[in-house]
Amino acid sequence: VQAVSFFSFWAPRVPLNEDIVPIEEFDPGETARLYTRESGMGLETGDAVKTGQRLAPDLVSPVTGTVAQIEPFNGIDGQTLTSIALDVAAEEEMAEGLESVTDFSDDARDALLSTLSDLGFNVNLGSDVDAAVISCVDTDPLHTVNQQTFRESANTLPDAISLLKALTGAKRVLVAITRQLQGLARRHVDGHAEMLLLDAFYPNGLPEVILRKASRKYAGMDSGLVVGVERLFAMVTALKDGKPIQDKLVTLSVPSAGLCKTLRVRIGTRIGDVLDAHEVTLGENSKLVTGGAMRGIPCYSTDFAVTPETDSICVQDETRVVEHRNTPCLNCGKCSAVCPMDLRVNLICRYSEYALFDECQKMDVDDCIECGLCAYACTARRPLIHYLKLAKAELAKKTEE
């Protein structure tokens, strides 16, 4: 499904997946592995855990079971985490004190926030925003979770709009939608939100890009909040049922096997188990990526578990793995032409290559959203995202000092 465009109008365009990929239930296994940023939570091996029980300040158990193992763990992106392995019990037992909320009115904000936190949603609203956007557009060409969620449960939209209004207090709620799903959205919006029509091309589903488009349409919009429809609908369902977040929609994409599925996977499921169930074998020098083709993070092992942030699992065989090269820049300018933030990527990356990070700062490198389009389009196949991340990291280091 690798998009190769020869006849493009200057910029190679990467279409989003608009196919109907029905959500399938994935049969969960008997273990679950959870991650937390905290350490020493007073939990010990052998402890019984109930569904919805708080295990750490940032972690609520999605299952009932016993703690099998607690160990320090290096996350996919190198963060220091603690991994908690649970043996799942056959009978589910709910933790006490969980309650359902059906009042999504504006005065219920505090109650909603505390209940959401109890249900395992780490909602960080930050300061007040001019607009809140519900994005039904996927954040990666591989992902299907947002569009498929909206396709299958669009009737949750009115509740979701009320919830978002109550949580953020934003005067304006927008629904970011592609042309294909526009009609469906219009039927359910019911005048409570405005529509923001987006082309079904990457990176139109990324929050920064959505807000840029929105601010072009509506004057005086300086800050905004973007939430994916899948996550927001999960909040609505959890609040109504009084049940913690237990599963996550994940797109499984294995181009070499022609496999593309939207799966409902229990949080904590080992990625290797998902692959085994679909008879996907990893060959030598293949690549396992979570989080999409453009911004995803490669995994060095199949033992990682699905987290509430895992939107996709993709396996590339050896022939599809992209090889970056250290050839000098041609200055063809395709990187700058595709940049959704209008950065001078060609200049920034050359400055970064020669450690002229102050020049990168003058060129607004901090606005880079690492969408990956520049490196996708690079004629010389330079590792542009590496250069951009390097410049940002070095500048951040400097600011700290």
Partner: protein
Amino acid sequence: MKKPDLVVSYAPHWHCGSSIASTMYGFLLALAPAALFGIYLYGIDAARVIALAVVCCVVSEALIQRIFKQPVTVGDGSAVLSGLLLALILPPNAPFWLVMVGSLMSMLVGKHVYGGLGSNPFNAVLVGWAILKISWKAQMDFNLVFAGYDLPMVMKYPLGVLWKQGASGLGEFSMFDLFVGKEVGGIGCSSDLLLLLGGVSLILMGEISWRIPVCFLLGIALTSSVFWLADSGRYASPLFHVLAGNAMIGAFFLAPDYSSSPVGKWAMMLFGFGCGSIAVLLRVWSAYPDGTFFAILLMNIMSPLLDMLKARRQAHSVVTV
């Protein structure tokens, strides 16, 4: 069982599939019609110049890279493209040594002393051409070199006629002839139609932006209209200026050269417009009938300055839940 080793190279995990070689071959393909038309017009003479220039460029690039202890990259097709472009702007009866010197100078002085592909501040092909033009005036003078040819068209260089006699001498040239290729000049510069076709296909393939060529031609048209409106007896019409001489090959193939042209959107437009305007000014006031290539070389100097132009909206503060 040993687990397979997984690749963990960083995002993005897709690539559009283009490469330096595919880009260069795209350019070659776009130039092919004009080159073939040149061979059709001038026969074996033109084929000889093209073949010699391409071979000389490739060989000199390989030698230079070997001497400079750089990896030899002639396989990427950029030297082939330089050779072809140089041949297309030379007269068909250029002596072999002229072609060889031009190719060597393009590769050495134009490209590799600066560090090779992507690092040259001037269009490498035009550097080689300028050295020839200044050093061997007689062999490079389109008013003289076509004396031995007899083709079914006006055997005078249109811009040479304009330079000597003013617009009053242009009566024998029809605009249609200039457009389809009944015009003497560089091997590949005759047919504006085929160059336009190649150039537009490059834009559609995404290899070059429309901004430089369009603004280049606009610059020529607007600047020449100023003169034309002032005195149409002495100065040629904008249409003539766009169709005659090296305007078309300059606009689509030489000005958008990657490393010597800017990348910013406004920078590209200013660059193109500047090239076009200066080209007309040089045609009117300089010692050369066609100043298009010198205009491009002059604007190459401006390119880094233009790229410092900054006009973008600041990013918004974004919150994600």
